[in-house]
Symmetry: C2
Subunit: 106 residues, 2 copies
């Protein structure tokens, strides 16, 4: 009795976005390429999970990894076209949060 079955593509997108931290990682990358340690400290995610998420996002073609053999080595993560295409989603979440969530009080 599966009355209203959900589009599998939507379901997949949602399961992606509903992984803890994934949204914030993408959001941070919307402002340009970022290094591992920068993402780690700005988001407050643990290195263990960040590493896992970045690998996953890379496999899904949402994030790309670039190695610059400087000293010390610099590795930058950025969004692919597929990743950049998530910007409207982020903008709508931003709009909603500004309309419906209270401003933090001091």
């Amino acid at each position: 009795m599966n009355q209203a079955l959900i589009c599998p593509r939507f379901e997949k997108a949602m399961s992606l976005m509903s992984q803890r931290w994934t949204g914030l990682v993408i959001y941070q990358l919307l402002t340009g390429p970022k290094r591992f340690c920068t993402l780690e400290s700005s988001i407050g995610i643990s290195g263990r999970v960040l590493s896992e998420r970045l690998k996953d996002l890379e496999h899904q073609g949402i994030v790309k990894r670039a190695v610059y053999p400087e000293t010390p080595v610099r590795i930058e993560y950025s969004l692919t076209e597929k990743g950049e295409a998530l910007e409207p989603v982020m903008r709508e979440i931003e709009k909603w949060s500004q309309t419906w969530l209270p401003n933090e009080m001091k």
Copy 2:
């Protein structure tokens, strides 16, 4: 060294949306009020977690619960105005998924 700190309201919205199942529950409620068992079977969520999520969403003013003392009792969950306001977010996720995710093959 917190270089690019994220807006706390956005962060809160994102932590909401990135809870497992929450997005799908809201998505299902966009098409009208639903009962517990309907959500349970259409989403594939366990009763234990669905109960938890609905309580949480109710506390946040996103979902409302209505009791109809029929036989057997009917309880319907629906979106508040705040919940309905998440529709554009869902539409953008839907659009993205249709553009960027492959159609399931048989």
